[in-house]
């Protein structure tokens, strides 16, 4: 306290006014000047403080604050000058001066240090230039920026487009992948993908699991040779055979072959395998598709057996038929040679008997001998007709395009010669040219017309009409007479061998003629039917069928020609 009192009121010192001798004007001059200086000095820092507060971008503003502090200190010294005029607080004034000195020196030192840095700051002019240049650059930058923005927008648009495209492509790729996976997964065959470098399956579908009775995981641990028996039926070891087929596939051939596989239970089964090389860069992949052909094999075997059996039966049947045919031929040959000879002898010797010993014979014996001859001749006729029928059945057709009108005219001419004295009204229509066997057709006409002549012999005037009418698909030829006719209830017997509808006393004949006609037409693929009313004549209608298609000759039979 004493110190502070001493500081303000030091004892023994005189106020500074004393130095001025209390001259009022002098004192006034100093006091007013110092007061104004102090006021100014105090106002300057406030302005500086305000300035730095407002312009925070001013570099080195702390320097201004230093100036402010220094000026406040200077202001303090001037206040003390005024104070000391009346109060001799010189220690305090000195202390204020010391403070001011400190601020001054510090500010001076800082200013010296700061000066090069302040000098390095650009001047206003250069700042203006820089500013102008910057403004130009800003414009340029703005333009560049806007064009860059455009490019950028464009790029972004394209990126977006490409992204969309990629998304779509990716999606369709995924769909495609899924589609093919489904196709493979549900394919009817077992499908594997083999990576031959590691000798393992790398894909296997559902049917593969089913066919081999193994899970996919198990299948993907093995290769083709490991799900096969050690040897294939051709004797090759399976591993070697796999290798050989694979070599073909690698040469872009598409081998398809039969193969024996073995399932998880150790059962072997036949398969059809096809191998295709897959287009895949870097790895050697093969698709191996396997179809179980057990069923097919069984069916093939079955068919083969059936065929063999059938073949066997055909051969047996053919052999039987050949034997039958041969027997029949021998039979007819023998009939032809040996059956006729005794008939000739009977007839010959009966004739000689009557000729040479006629006068010696008792009455009636000659008639008996004549009966023997008649019976013999009839028998001879039967034999000849039967042989004829057999020949027709046996022989093959010689089909040529034939003018049936000529055949018919020839037949009528020869029949006319055989029946002198008969009054016959031949009514002949026009017949189409037809493919047929002319020799056999002559026999057909001969038999039908001689029948007509035979059954009209009681008529004073026979009327025999031959002509052609349109059938459903082919022409129908008819032969109609005004003879005795027959009862339609026996019509089915008409074309059978040895079937006769009239007695031999009424009408001669062997009952073979119409059977031969029937057989000939049948061989041509045609048919015959008859219509009649007893006493009013008969009509026969026949077709030749598709005679151009020669039919194989049926085995001749001597009985039941119908």
């Amino acid at each position: 306290m004493q110190f502070l009192r001493n500081l303000v009121y030091p004892g023994g010192l005189m106020p500074h006014g004393t130095c001025y001798l209390w001259t009022p004007s002098l004192i006034g001059l100093h006091v007013v000047s110092d007061s104004l200086i102090a006021l100014s000095y105090l106002s300057i820092p406030i302005t500086l403080l305000h300035f730095t507060r407002q312009r925070r971008d001013i570099p080195f503003s702390w320097m201004l604050l230093c100036f402010g502090a220094f000026i406040v200190a200077c202001g303090g010294t001037h206040v003390m000058e005024v104070w000391t005029v009346w109060f001799p607080s010189y220690w305090l004034a000195g202390a204020v001066k010391v403070a001011t000195a400190c601020f001054s020196v510090a500010t001076a030192i800082l200013l010296i240090q700061l000066t090069p840095r302040v000098l390095a700051l650009p001047g206003i002019q250069s700042l203006l230039e820089i500013n102008q240049r910057l403004a130009g650059e800003v414009v340029q930058h703005t333009q560049t920026e806007s064009s860059l923005r455009r490019v950028s927008e464009d790029l972004e648009e394209r990126v977006a487009e490409r992204t969309m495209e990629l998304v779509v492509a990716n999606q369709s790729l995924q769909e495609s992948e899924l589609r093919f996976r489904t196709v493979v997964e549900h394919a009817p065959e077992a499908i594997f993908v083999v990576d031959i470098d590691v000798e393992r399956f790398i894909e296997a579908n559902r049917n593969a699991e089913k066919l081999f009775g193994m899970t996919r995981e198990d299948l993907l641990r093995v290769g083709p040779a490991e799900i096969s028996p050690p040897f294939q039926p051709d004797g090759r070891p399976s591993a070697q055979a796999v290798f050989e087929e694979r070599a073909k596939a690698l040469k872009k051939e598409k081998p398809r072959f039969e193969w024996i596989h073995r399932n998880a239970k150790g059962e072997d089964f036949p398969c059809e395998v096809s191998v295709v090389r897959l287009p895949f860069s870097g790895r050697n992949l093969l698709r191996r598709s396997v179809v179980d052909i057990s069923e097919r094999k069984r069916a093939e075997e079955e068919i083969r057996k059936l065929n063999a059996e059938l073949e066997q039966r055909v051969q047996e049947r053919t052999a039987q038929l050949e034997v039958a045919n041969h027997d029949l031929e021998s039979f007819t040959y023998s009939v032809s040679h040996d059956l006729r000879a005794p008939l000739r002898h009977m007839d010959g010797f009966s004739r000689i008997l009557v000729e040479d010993f006629g006068p010696q014979l008792p009455p009636g014996a000659k008639q008996h001998a004549e009966r023997v001859r008649a019976a013999t001749l009839h028998m001879g006729q039967l034999v000849d007709d039967l042989l004829n029928l057999a020949r027709v059945g046996r022989g093959s057709l010689r089909i040529v395009s034939t003018d049936l009108n000529e055949v018919l005219a020839d037949t009528i001419l020869s029949l006319d010669q055989e029946t002198p004295g008969r009054q016959v009204d031949w009514r002949i229509g026009r017949l189409s040219r037809t493919p047929c066997d002319p020799g056999l057709m002559r026999q057909v006409f001969h038999n039908l017309l001689s029948n007509a002549l035979k059954f009209t012999k009681q008529r004073e005037k026979a009327v025999i009409e031959i002509g052609e009418i349109r059938g459903e698909s082919e022409p129908v030829i008819f032969v109609r007479d005004n003879g005795v006719g027959f009862d339609m209830k026996y019509a089915d017997k008409l074309f059978q061998v040895f079937q006769r509808l009239h007695s031999a006393e009424e009408f001669e004949g062997t009952g073979v003629g119409l059977a031969i006609v029937h057989r000939i037409l049948q061989k041509h693929g045609g048919s015959i039917r008859a219509e009649s009313t007893p006493g009013k004549g008969a009509a026969f209608f026949f077709t030749l069928g598709r005679a151009s298609v020669a039919r194989p000759a049926p085995v001749p039979v001597l009985h039941g020609a119908a």
């Binding site: 007819t332 007839d347 001879g380």
Partner: protein, 156 residues
């Protein structure tokens, strides 16, 4: 001269047929002598003067041969083949007289060069007519080969 003294050879094994044929030939004035052979072998021996016919060497061949087809030992076709293959006998007219009119017999005999084929009818009257006709045709209507070429020779 051609007609009179004509000799023919009848080759027939069946006695009844033989008698009937001879009966039919009997009335034919053109034939002076009918030689009969009862089988094919005998017919060939006769023609080539072998065995019991060696004595015939140098005699002329018959002017006509009537040949049955069904014969013991050598059958008609065998006889026909031998005669038509041999240059000495090839020109003798040979007529087959057969019961059969089967196509296969007709074909076989004509292929071997038979001169005529007759199927013997059952009706004896017609048979006689046929024999009459063939005798007249072959011995009178037809010109036979010159006689000197028909000299028979014993086989060497």
């Amino acid at each position: 001269m051609k007609a009179e003294g004509a000799e023919i050879l009848l080759v027939e094994d069946n006695a009844s047929d033989l008698e009937l044929t001879l009966h039919a030939l009997k009335h034919n004035s053109l034939i002076q002598f009918v030689h009969v052979a009862r089988d094919g072998e005998e017919a060939l021996n006769f023609l080539f003067c072998r065995e019991k016919f060696q004595g015939r060497a140098g005699r002329p061949f018959p002017q006509l041969i009537l040949l049955d087809l069904k014969l013991p030992k050598v059958d008609g076709l065998g006889v026909l083949r031998t005669l038509k293959e041999d240059s000495r006998t090839r020109s003798i007219p040979i007529i087959v007289l057969s019961s059969s009119g089967e196509d296969r017999d007709l074909l076989a005999t004509y292929e071997l060069g038979v001169n005529s084929y007759i199927q013997k009818p059952v009706d004896f009257d017609r048979f006689r007519e046929t024999v009459e006709t063939l005798g007249r045709y072959w011995l009178r209507v037809n010109h036979a080969p010159p006689r000197q070429h028909l000299k028979s020779r014993a086989e060497k």
